[in-house]
């Protein structure tokens, strides 16, 4: 499954806010790079969280190398628009404060069609870039995309614009962007979820909307932050007996620490195991794509978390 995923040209990673989109995007970028691909990791907002998850201080509008084989950039609609004008119309970069520049800014960031269009347009432009030997500049582009509420309007931006704009040069350009987005061989979406009620509901809704409204392929869903161990009844029985008044003080003495926190951890894990599997079942029943289980990871840096998640995805799909 991973092999198929990494053969795509563009992967959009989406899902409800807080489900670990950025980490999963970073993990996929690391896996692609490890498979020898030249990767562009794109952050759709300027905050630069994706670059941080790849161990870099932050990203600008120009791609910069963040890991061996991985470059990263953060999208900025104004910059994309200026670049677009520059490439296709030879309009020189405009000083920030000229009236013309401000009108462009308004159009680029304020009017929904163009703004969403610039997000996917820039990605499509990077997909199309070729080296002198006509090889693509990037083998694969991994996008830390907008959350489930907004990603559909990004992915349908090109088509919406085609209904608004009749004629003009832009039509042809928008058409090829739309073709790329809806080409199931080249472009796909990975949906992130957690084993909680709303993330699961939103993942299922998003999967359906992407197919029905956007006509975009969905390859798989990553079910994130699952409790990595499965607590057995036998373990729970032993853990509870350790904290029982009849044994607690002797156990404490022998182990050099109180057993009650251990019991609590086991009970908590056992309860979370139950919601994990119930929500996992609900997700698998509601989705038409495979679900990849990824365990909860605690690590010092966000790069370290991305690395462990990459291993987990590799293992689960290998």
């Amino acid at each position: 499954m991973l092999e198929k995923l990494l053969r795509r040209r563009v992967i959009f990673v989406s899902g409800k806010g807080g489900t670990g989109k950025t980490t999963v995007a970073a993990a996929l970028a690391l896996l692609a790079a490890r498979n020898g691909k030249r990767v562009l990791a794109v952050d759709v907002d300027a905050k630069g969280d994706l670059a941080a998850a790849l161990g870099s201080r932050g990203a600008g509008f120009k791609p910069q190398i963040v890991q061996p084989g991985i470059s990263s950039l953060a999208l900025q609609p104004q910059e994309s628009f200026q670049e677009y004008l520059n490439i296709y119309f030879k309009v020189p970069r405009l000083a920030r404060l000229t009236p013309l520049a401000r009108v462009f800014d308004f159009i680029a960031t304020g009017v929904p069609g163009p703004r969403d269009m610039l997000v996917v347009g820039k990605i499509a432009y990077e997909e199309r870039r070729r080296q002198a030997n006509s090889r693509p500049v990037w083998d694969i582009i991994v996008v830390d995309a907008a959350p489930s509420g907004q990603v559909v309007s990004h992915l349908t931006a090109a088509r919406s614009l085609l209904t608004l704009v009749k004629g003009g040069m832009i039509t042809a350009q928008v058409q090829w962007v739309d073709q790329l987005i809806r080409d199931h061989a080249r472009t796909t979406v990975v949906i992130c979820a957690l084993a909680q009620e709303m993330p699961v509901i939103e993942a299922i809704e998003l999967d359906a909307r992407l197919r029905a409204e956007a006509g975009v392929a969905v390859d798989c869903c990553v079910l994130n932050r699952l409790i990595p161990m499965h607590v057995t009844p036998a373990q729970l029985r032993v853990a509870r007996a350790m904290s029982d008044d009849a044994h607690a003080s002797r156990v404490r003495e022998r182990l050099g620490g109180p057993p009650q926190p251990l019991t609590l951890a086991l009970e908590t894990a056992a309860e979370l195991n139950q919601t994990d599997s119930a929500r996992g079942r609900q997700l698998r029943e509601g989705l038409r794509v495979p679900v990849i289980d990824v365990p909860l990871v605690v690590a010092r840096s966000s790069l370290a978390v991305s690395r462990v998640v990459a291993e987990a995805i590799d293992e689960a799909t290998g």
Binding site: K16, G17, G18, K47, D49, L85, F89, V91, L100, R102, V103, F106, P112, G113, R115, A146, P147, S160, T163, L164, V165, G167, G168, M169, I170, T171, L194, Q196, M198, I201, E202, E205, M229, V231, A234, Q235, R237, V238, A239, A241, S243, D245, H247, R250, L255, G256, G257, P258, P259, Q260, P261, L262, L264, T268, A269, E271, T275, L296, V298, S302
Partner: protein, 399 residues
């Protein structure tokens, strides 16, 4: 055994029989507007609903919980199906059954952004003809859905209307799940900027985009025509021209909304978890509230792990269980149970995981005061899911 040392199941039972205090309901119940903010996935909607209940539990007030989320989450959280544009009163009997002896009443409403925008256009348009022209414009029809900050603006506007209407004593508003919490604060001004931008005046022109106008010479227009085709720009211009007639009204409203948000009867509640990402957002957001002179009244920290899991001596015990297989034999005879080395190692590993999580939380907890000197509620992690009314009531009691 001390209360601290009871295992989870017993503590939970004990907690349920405690009389809930609804302290936050007492503290914040004198406000007229409570704005809950936080980044996506921290349980903001749940906390807003619970906060509304805490206020109704503490005081004889009519409380409206307003959610602006397109995902209809509050409906799910309140156990209601198909909340419409009309507010729905949460049945007092259901509340009572869930353990909330409410003095006041709780009403839930979901903002329908599209109709909120249509109302706004109708309200501020100088006449019916202008309103109709805007409502029919294809750009407008897309804008109310996707305009930057459109949910945020509609929420602010509806909040203002509801507050002015005086039908409710307290309005608790759950802010939209924008990736950038600031969109919410900046929305009113930003809309006024868009509508009013003088730059757009010349774009719209005194008499529009006649093809023969001197504009045709302007590089912008030549460029725009090549880009978009002729009719499109005409239509944009018409939209901008119509929209400009709304400017006075929208600008005045933005001022009113800001005045309301800075007034003493309004309070902001920041909701966060202790995960590093959401917590960093909360820190950023509280600093922005200070910058905007908007009053932070409370912080709710959601999904806090029990303090017991940070016990370093227990971590030492866990290491013994993980690394000394022979401990299984000793435990087996002590507990008179079959204990294998796999079992003891699993117990040790499980504690280590939760201990690591709890320690990560602790790093954020130590920075909690820096968010602001305001009352703070810690809501424990509930391993069973909070979506039914009972769960909300349980949280309300802990606030």
């Amino acid at each position: 055994m001390s209360a601290q040392a009871q295992p989870a199941s017993e503590r939970r039972r004990a907690k349920r029989s405690d009389v809930p205090v609804f302290a936050m309901g007492h503290r914040l119940g004198n406000l007229e507007v409570i704005v809950c903010c936080g980044t996506g996935g921290v349980g903001k909607t749940t906390v807003s609903a619970a906060l509304g209940m805490a206020v109704a539990a503490a005081q004889d007030k009519r409380v409206l919980v307003l959610t602006v989320d397109p995902a209809k989450r509050l409906a799910t959280a309140l156990g209601l199906r198909g909340i419409g544009a009309d507010p729905v009163k949460v049945s007092p009997r259901a509340l009572h059954g869930a353990g909330l002896p409410a003095k006041g009443e709780v009403v839930a409403a979901m903002l329908d952004t599209k109709s909120a925008w249509d109302r706004l256009i109708e309200r501020f348009a100088p006449n019916r003809g202008t309103a109709d022209r805007i409502l029919r414009n294809r750009f407008y029809q897309r804008i109310s859905d996707a305009f930057i900050g459109s949910h945020e603006y509609a929420a602010m506007d509806a909040l203002y209307e509801l507050h002015q209407g005086g039908e409710y004593d307290v309005v608790v508003v759950d802010t939209p799940p924008s990736r950038n919490a600031l969109d919410f604060l900046e929305a009113p001004n930003r809309l006024a900027d868009y509508v009013g931008a003088r730059l757009l005046s010349w774009l719209a022109g005194p008499s529009g985009f006649g093809r023969a106008m001197s504009f045709a010479a302007s590089p912008f227009l030549r460029l725009a025509d090549r880009l978009l085709g002729d009719d499109t720009l005409e239509e944009v211009a018409d939209f901008v021209r119509q929209l400009q007639q709304l400017y006075g009204g929208v600008q005045a409203r933005a001022r009113d909304v800001y005045r309301l948000l800075r007034s003493p009867q309004v309070g902001f509640v920041v909701v966060t978890t202790l995960e590093p990402g959401p917590f960093a957002e909360a820190e950023f957001f509280t600093s922005k509230l200070r910058e905007f002179s908007m009053p932070l009244r409370a912080i709710v920290v959601n999904r806090v792990l029990p303090e017991m899991l940070r016990n370093p001596n227990a971590a030492a015990a866990a290491t013994v269980l993980e690394e000394h297989p022979q401990i299984a034999t000793w435990l087996s005879s002590e507990l008179d149970l079959r204990v294998t080395a796999d079992t003891t190692r699993a117990i040790g590993e499980t504690y280590k995981l939760f201990n690591a999580l709890a320690q990560r939380d602790a790093r954020q907890l130590s920075r909690l005061e820096r968010l602001g000197a305001v009352p703070t509620s810690r809501i424990p992690l509930f391993t069973d899911e909070v979506s039914a009314l009972e769960g909300l009531v349980r949280i309300a009691g802990l606030l």
